[in-house]
C-alpha cells in the first residue's frame, strides 16, 4: 500500500466534500438541527395537561388537596362547561385528566378510613396519560404525607395522627435527577449522527463514482482496492469523529450536559463502531447503482437500527425475539456505551460485552464490505 496513493484519494475526497453544498448541509447543518429539534422536543415530560377537578366533597381537606394541582405547570385547570359531566369533557377533549373527589372525603380521612379518589384519563395518548397519572398520584401522596405530619404536630391525639405511618417512597433518579429528556436524547443523537455520516455518506460517495463513471476509470489504474476504499473512507471517519466532539460541545453549552467519562475511551468505542457503519456503507455501494438507491437503502437500514437500538423503546420492553434481534444491531451497543460514558462516566472496562460486540462487528463488517467490493466485474 502506498501512502502517496492513499493521500491522493483522501485529499481529493476532502476537496469534493467541501465543494458540494448538499454534502455540507447534510453533514454540518443537519446535525445541529437534529440536536436542537430532538433535544428540545423529544421529551417524556408532559406539561400543561388539561385537568378538571370534580370536588363533590368541597370541604377544607378536599380543597387543600386540590390546591396541590394548581401550583404546577404540569396541569392547567379547566372549568366545567354548561353542566357537562366529566366523562363528556374527556370525550370532547376539554380535559385530559379528571380528578373526582367523592363526597365524604374529608370526613373519612379524619376518621382514618382511607377514602377513594378517582382519576380518569384520556388513554388515547397512552404515554402522556400514564405520565400524568403518575404526577397526580404524586400530588395526592404528598398531600396525605403533609397532612399526617401536620396533624401529628397540631393534634397529637386525634385519630388521624394515630394512623400507622405508611411507607413513603422517596425517589431519586441518579445521573438524571430531574428526568431531563435532553440528557437522555443527546447520546442517542450523537450515535444517529455518526451513523448517518459514516454509513450514508460513504455509500453515496462510492456509488456516485460508479454513477459518473470515475470508478471504472479508477479500476483501470494500479491503485489497489484497499487504497481506494481507505482513501475514500478515512475522510468520513475523521469527519464523524469531529462531529462527535462538536455535538458533545454543543450539548454542553445548549443543554448543560457534561461529558463525565473518558474522552479517549469514547473515541475508541466510536472508532470501532465507525468501522461497522463504514463497512455497511461499502456493502450498500456494492448492491446499488445510483445515489438514490444508496440513500434509500441507508435510510432503510437506519430506521431498523434506530428502532432496535433502545433509543425510543427500551430494549427490556421488547418481545423476546426482537430483544434477541437487537444483539445483531451494532447501534444498540454503541448507544449503551455512549450513554454510560457520557452521562455516567463509566469506564469501558465495565462494558466488556459491548466493546467486544463492537470490535467483532467492526472487523467482520469491514472485512465483508471490502471483500464484496471488486476491482473487476464478474
Amino acid at each position: 500500500m502506498s501512502i502517496r496513493v492513499l493521500f491522493s484519494f483522501v485529499k481529493k475526497e476532502i476537496k469534493q466534500i467541501f465543494r458540494t453544498k448538499e454534502m455540507l448541509i447534510l453533514m454540518f447543518g443537519a446535525p445541529l438541527l437534529q440536536l436542537l429539534v430532538l433535544g428540545f422536543t423529544v421529551t417524556n415530560e408532559v406539561k400543561h395537561i388539561k385537568l378538571f377537578i370534580e370536588d363533590r366533597d368541597n370541604t377544607e381537606l378536599s380543597r387543600a388537596m386540590c390546591e396541590g394541582f394548581k401550583h404546577t405547570d404540569r396541569f392547567d385547570l379547566v372549568q366545567q362547561q354548561r353542566g357537562e359531566s366529566s366523562t363528556i369533557m374527556i370525550q370532547n377533549w376539554e380535559a385530559q385528566l379528571v380528578v373526582i373527589v367523592p363526597q365524604g372525603f374529608g370526613r373519612e380521612l379524619r376518621q382514618n378510613r382511607k377514602p377513594d379518589v378517582q382519576f380518569i384519563t384520556d388513554g388515547l395518548d397512552g404515554n402522556s396519560a400514564a405520565v400524568s397519572l403518575g404526577y397526580a398520584q404524586g400530588i395526592v401522596a404528598r398531600f396525605i404525607q403533609s397532612m399526617l405530619q401536620e396533624s401529628r404536630q397540631k393534634y397529637p391525639f386525634t385519630a388521624l395522627s394515630s394512623m400507622p405511618s405508611q411507607v413513603i417512597v422517596s425517589q431519586r433518579m441518579w445521573y438524571n435527577e430531574d428526568l431531563n429528556s435532553a440528557q437522555y436524547m443527546v447520546p442517542g443523537i450523537i450515535v444517529i449522527l455518526i451513523t448517518i455520516i459514516s454509513m450514508m455518506m460513504s455509500a453515496m460517495s462510492l456509488v456516485k463514482e460508479k454513477e459518473i463513471g470515475t470508478l471504472e476509470q479508477l479500476m483501470v489504474t494500479p491503485a489497489s482496492k484497499i487504497e481506494l476504499l481507505l482513501g475514500k473512507l478515512i475522510p468520513y471517519w475523521v469527519i464523524a469523529m469531529f462531529e462527535i466532539s462538536a455535538v458533545t460541545f454543543a450539548a454542553h453549552f445548549i443543554f448543560r450536559i457534561h461529558f463525565t467519562g473518558s474522552v479517549a475511551e469514547m473515541a475508541l468505542a466510536a472508532g470501532l463502531y465507525l468501522m461497522t457503519t463504514l463497512g455497511i456503507g461499502i456493502f450498500i455501494s456494492t448492491i446499488t447503482d445510483t445515489q438514490q438507491q444508496a440513500m434509500f437503502f441507508s435510510w432503510f437500514m437506519m430506521i431498523f437500527m434506530i428502532l432496535l437500538s433502545g433509543l425510543f423503546v427500551p430494549v427490556q420492553n421488547m418481545p423476546y425475539l426482537i430483544k434477541k434481534l437487537t444483539l445483531l444491531n451494532p447501534m444498540s451497543f454503541m448507544l449503551a456505551i455512549t450513554r454510560e460514558v457520557i452521562i455516567k462516566g463509566t469506564p469501558l472496562r465495565y462494558m466488556f460485552r459491548e466493546v467486544a460486540a463492537l470490535t467483532l462487528y467492526g472487523f467482520v463488517t469491514f472485512f465483508l464490505g471490502v471483500t464484496r467490493f471488486h476491482k473487476t466485474t464478474k
Binding site: 481529493k12 469534493q16 459518473i212 483501470v220
Partner: protein, 245 residues
Amino acid sequence: MNAEYMIRTEDLTKVFGNFTAVDKMNIEIMPGQIFGFLGANGAGKTTAIRMLCGLLKPSSGKAMVAGYDVRVDSEAIKRKIGYMSQRFSLYDDLSIGENIRFYSGIYQVPYKVAMERAKDSLKMVGLDLSMKVMTGSLPLGFKQRLALVCALLHDPPLLILDEPTSGVDPMARRAFWNVINSLAEQGKTIIVSTHFMDEAEYCHRLIIMRSGSVLVDDSPRALKEKYGSRNMQELFLLLAGAVNE
C-alpha cells in the same frame, strides 16, 4: 508467447449467463499500431476492451497484454495502459490542475514529471487553459481531450480508447484523431473502438465485430479492395448489418 506483440489473444471468450458477448476472439496487435474495434452496439467491442484492460475476467481463452497475462497479472497491465471510456471520467468538481494532481498521485508519477507531461499533452491536444479552471465548466470536447491528457500522465505504451469521440462535434473529432495519429507516431499502440465509419479510415488495422465474433481483420484499404466497397460505411453495412439478415 512472443513479446513483440503488444496484444495477442487466443480464443478469448466472455459468456454472461447463456449470452456469449465475445466468442473466441483471436487478434494480434503490433506496437505503434492504431487498431480499430468496429461493430454495432452490442457487438461485443466494449466487453472485449474491458477484458483487455483487466476490468473483466475472461470466461475462457487467453490474452497477453504488454507481455502480461490478463488472468494472472491484471494489476501489472494497469500500469501499462492508459484508458479512456466513452463516459467522461474526470471529476467535474475538481479543477484541471487538481484532476492532474490526483491521477499523478494514483499512478505514482512524480508531480513535476506529471506536470511536464501534462503541459506537453495539453499543447498537443490544443488546450490552452488555466490549471485553475473547474473541469465541470468545460464543453464535452475539451473534457474528452483533458481525459486523454490524464490517461497519458504515466506515459503508457498502450492506449485503450472506448468510443472516445461519441458525443463530440466533427471538428473536435478531427482534432482528436490528429492527436491519436501523433501518439502512434511516438510509438504508442492505440486501440480505438468507434462506430463512426469515417474514423475507421484512420486505423492501421481494424476488426469488425458482430454478435461477439470477429468478422474481418485487416487494413481498411485491403478490406475495401476485397469487398469492392467504396468506403468503410458501405463495407460496414455490408458486413455488420445487411448480410445474413
